[in-house]
């Protein structure tokens, strides 16, 4: 590629860019926007939901989305360093939630649950975090490290196998029945501020998720371990040459991702208090979708993608579909969520914040 070649190519580049495919894509984007805007206009102008109900839907979306974000962080970080999707991550989340269930159940029989709910909650969170971290690190050691250097498809398939293995292992251990989290009295009821009425449990979830995400961001940006993680994700070979222990860094990546998933599991139990061995599957898929939505490999992207997906799921059916008088539109929330993914990718093929990785290497 010489300098002359690029200079010559520039005048004709703009003319050759308008291909039938690009016309079609632009047509698709405009059509999608039109459908969404018109549906939203119909929904809002019909006055079916009051402003406070729209706000409620938004808050529900943000709280579920925060949980998705926490799980998505694990997906995106592992993709960043190892360039494959760890499908077993949903089960890491489920194990965190299961541990949270057992600890919460045990604590609920003691007076600590009632006297000091904050400490109880912290105990539940910490145990969930520790368990999930342990499981994530174990999976990395058993399933992924032996495959370091293999073509990328191999660890992907292994991760699917690991996901099923863990699911049915847990099913064998705890049984297939649905477990119910114990109620936490201080978390029932609502907070009121500035005219907003929000459920307490959702406030806890949103705040906890925000705090964890902030901590993770600071960890990755400001600490040495975070720096080595970013180095390994940019170029593992050069990082090794610079004296970074790539293996240990990868283990730390899995550990941090697992910890986030553990917190997500405990928070999930607060908002959706029924759990079984299969509960990690759908949030795992949604979190993976969130990570792609925000730009896979990008940590802030994962946070943004998670919250966005939660909002699309929650508000989408009522906003866009209800306007077109589709019956039982609430049942189509998953359709809306995944369509949102497709639409975002149509507009921005690398996700909202784009892929913040260095040049792709084979």
């Amino acid at each position: 590629m010489t300098q002359a070649a690029t200079v010559d190519a520039r005048p004709t580049r703009r003319a050759s860019r308008i291909t039938p495919v690009s016309i079609f894509l632009w047509g698709l984007r405009i059509a999608a926007l039109a459908v969404i805007l018109y549906g939203s206009y119909l929904s809002i102008s019909s006055g079916r939901l009051t402003a406070s109900q729209w706000r409620d839907l938004l808050v529900f979306g943000v709280s579920t989305g925060s949980v998705y974000s926490l799980i998505a962080l694990g997906y995106t970080m592992v993709y960043g360093v190892l360039r494959f999707i760890n499908f077993a991550h949903g089960e890491v989340f489920m194990i965190g939630a299961m541990m949270a269930f057992y600890v919460a159940n045990a604590l609920a029989t003691t007076s600590l649950w009632v006297d000091n709910p904050i400490v109880s909650l912290l105990i539940v969170l910490v145990t969930a975090m520790v368990t999930s971290t342990a499981v994530a690190v174990t999976i990395e050691r058993i399933a992924y490290r032996p495959l370091r250097g293999a073509p990328r498809l191999i660890p992907l398939i292994t991760s699917i196998g690991a996901s099923f293995t863990i699911q049915y292992l847990v099913r064998g251990l705890v049984g297939p029945s649905t477990k119910a989290f114990p109620r936490m009295e201080p978390l029932r009821g609502t907070f009121e501020f500035g005219g907003f009425v929000i459920l307490r449990s959702q406030v806890v979830v949103i705040v906890a998720a925000l705090v964890m995400m902030l901590l993770l961001y600071l960890f990755v940006e400001k600490t040495r371990t975070g720096k080595s993680m970013r180095a390994v994700s940019e170029d593992a070979e050069t990082a090794a040459l610079m004296g970074i222990d790539v293996d240990r860094t990868i283990v730390k990546v899995f550990a941090v991702g697992g910890a986030m998933a553990g917190v997500a599991g405990a928070l999930w139990g607060l908002v959706f208090p029924s759990l079984n061995f299969f509960s990690g599957f759908l949030p795992g898929i949604k979190a993976f979708t969130s990570a792609v939505l925000g730009g896979i490999g990008n940590i802030v992207g994962a946070m943004l993608g998670g919250v966005s997906l939660g909002i699309f799921e929650s508000v989408g059916p009522s906003l866009v579909l209800a306007g077109y008088e589709i019956p039982a539109f609430s049942q189509l929330k998953d359709v809306v969520a995944y369509s949102a993914l497709v639409l975002v990718l149509i507009f921005r093929p690398t996700g909202i914040l784009g892929e913040r990785l260095a040049q792709e290497r084979g």
């Binding site: 939901l49 409620d56 529900f60 579920t64 649905t178 029932r188 029924s274 929650s314 019956p327 049942q331």
Partner: protein, 448 residues
């Protein structure tokens, strides 16, 4: 160049072959001879074209279903296809136990012991129903199948089992699509050879609607189903009857069975102004709905009502289900039923865990009685004509634990009574809830 042309020709040939295979040779009748121990078939099937009746069912010409021969000393085999794992495990396990008790009670038919040759899982869904049914009928000695638990599994299972000539008798399928709407219209998934001893949801929907409108005096109702044939059939029946009585269904909507966040749909319900939510779904979706309904703004006073899918011991103990109403089949009474419960408790160490054990017990016994009536004994070898078995099930009347059973042309055998129950602070377990009957409606009460 030559190899490229050759490959193209080959590819074209392959596609053509596939197209011909797919489009040609698809006849309606299947080979259903099921003799054992002989090499030549005793009857031919597929020679007569099955006639199609309006509504989608097909009738096979009489006598063309073949026979099952049970040699001397061999057991008469039946199969069980129930939901024995997962969240609906209580529904299926309860009925498998009832079938086992029926087998133990009957002992033998015409000198032959009875064997439960298959105990398959219908996973409360179409995949399990299809797979389980296929596995059972692969054994040509199976005479009848008791199942399925869930109507969603019953849809493919009814087709598979009856196409193979055997009968499928369910103790808990309630969806109208499997039989009829009780107004003379055949259900779209009805196949001859399918019977059930449980009620038809056209009746349960009407009973629930009548209770809500007349007893509770509520006129604005939202219904939520989960897309499954049972839940959809029940909410449709409820909506139809409720509107006929003069009420308004303000929001007929649905969720998916694995949904956890019910708050958006509940916000819509609140916006529609519902006084009661009728959600005849299963666990765990029912758990989330009940839990979140009382948290959503605008639904603080809403009344919750479920149906027999939620009448299990793991649901009624949840604190969020307190004061919920349920509709379900009437729990049988009488000495015969008490004796049955006694055997159940002695064998399995606990009281019956769901609502359809007696119905399955009756279903199994009906099949036994029908076999006894039609089987011909020839020096120890029983010959059971499968078409005669179907005709007998249609013709007979059976006095069971759940009442007098007499099967109509579409397979509904029950003379059902529907109980409306309530879960209160005093009812500690499923048995207490089932005992807390607020109203009972019979088919006559509801105009059927």
């Amino acid at each position: 160049m030559k190899t490229k042309r050759g490959l193209k020709l080959l590819a074209l040939l392959a596609v053509l072959t596939l197209v011909i295979a797919a489009c040609g040779g698809g006849e309606g009748g299947e080979d259903t001879t099921t003799t054992a121990g002989t090499d030549e078939p005793t009857t031919t099937a597929g020679g007569d074209e099955p006639t199609t009746t309006a509504g989608g069912g097909t009738t096979m010409p009489a006598g063309d279903l073949g026979v099952v021969e049970v040699a001397a000393g061999e057991a008469i085999k039946i199969g069980s296809l129930q939901s024995i794992s997962g969240d609906t495990a209580s529904l299926g396990t309860d009925q498998v136990r009832a079938t086992e008790i029926a087998i133990a009670d009957k002992g033998e038919i015409l000198g032959h012991p009875i064997e439960l040759a298959f105990n398959e899982d219908d996973t409360c869904g179409a995949e399990g129903g299809q797979a389980g049914a296929t596995r059972i009928i692969a054994d040509p000695q199976v005479v009848a199948v008791i199942g399925t638990s869930c109507s969603g599994a019953g849809v493919p299972a009814s087709n598979v089992v009856t196409s193979a000539g055997r009968v499928l008798v369910s103790g808990s399928n309630t969806s109208p699509v499997l039989t009829s709407d009780l107004a003379g219209n055949e259900g779209p998934e009805h196949h001859p050879g399918y019977f059930r001893t449980a009620h038809n949801d056209a009746i349960q929907g009407a009973a629930a609607a009548k209770f809500v409108f007349e007893e509770l005096g509520l006129t604005q109702v939202a219904t939520i189903n989960d897309g499954d044939p049972y839940t959809q059939g029940l909410t449709s029946a409820f909506e139809f009857s409720f509107t006929e009585l003069g009420g308004t269904v303000v929001l007929p909507t649905a969720v998916t069975a694995d949904q956890t966040d019910m708050r958006p749909v509940l916000t819509e319900v609140a916006a529609a102004g519902a006084e009661l939510i009728f959600f005849p779904i299963f666990q765990p979706a029912g758990d989330f709905l009940a839990e979140q309904a009382l948290e959503v703004a605008g639904l603080e006073d809403v009344v919750l009502m479920g149906a027999d899918g939620l009448l299990s011991d793991t649901y009624v103990v949840l604190p969020q289900t307190e004061n919920m109403y349920f509709s379900g089949p009437q729990t049988p009474t009488g000495d015969a039923y008490d004796e049955f419960v006694g055997k159940y408790e002695a064998e399995y160490g606990e009281a019956p865990i769901q609502s359809f054990h007696a119905h399955s017990y009756d279903a199994t016994n009906m099949v036994f009685a029908a076999i006894e009536a039609v089987a011909t004994d020839d020096g120890g070898t029983l010959t059971i004509d499968l078409q005669a078995l179907r005709d007998e099930l249609h013709a007979m009347t059976w006095e069971g634990l759940t009442g007098t059973l007499s099967c109509d042309e579409y397979g509904d055998c029950a003379a059902p009574n529907i109980d409306i129950l309530q879960n209160t602070a005093d009812t500690a377990d499923i048995a207490a809830v089932r005992g807390n009957v607020l109203a009972t409606y019979s088919a006559e009460d509801l105009g059927f």
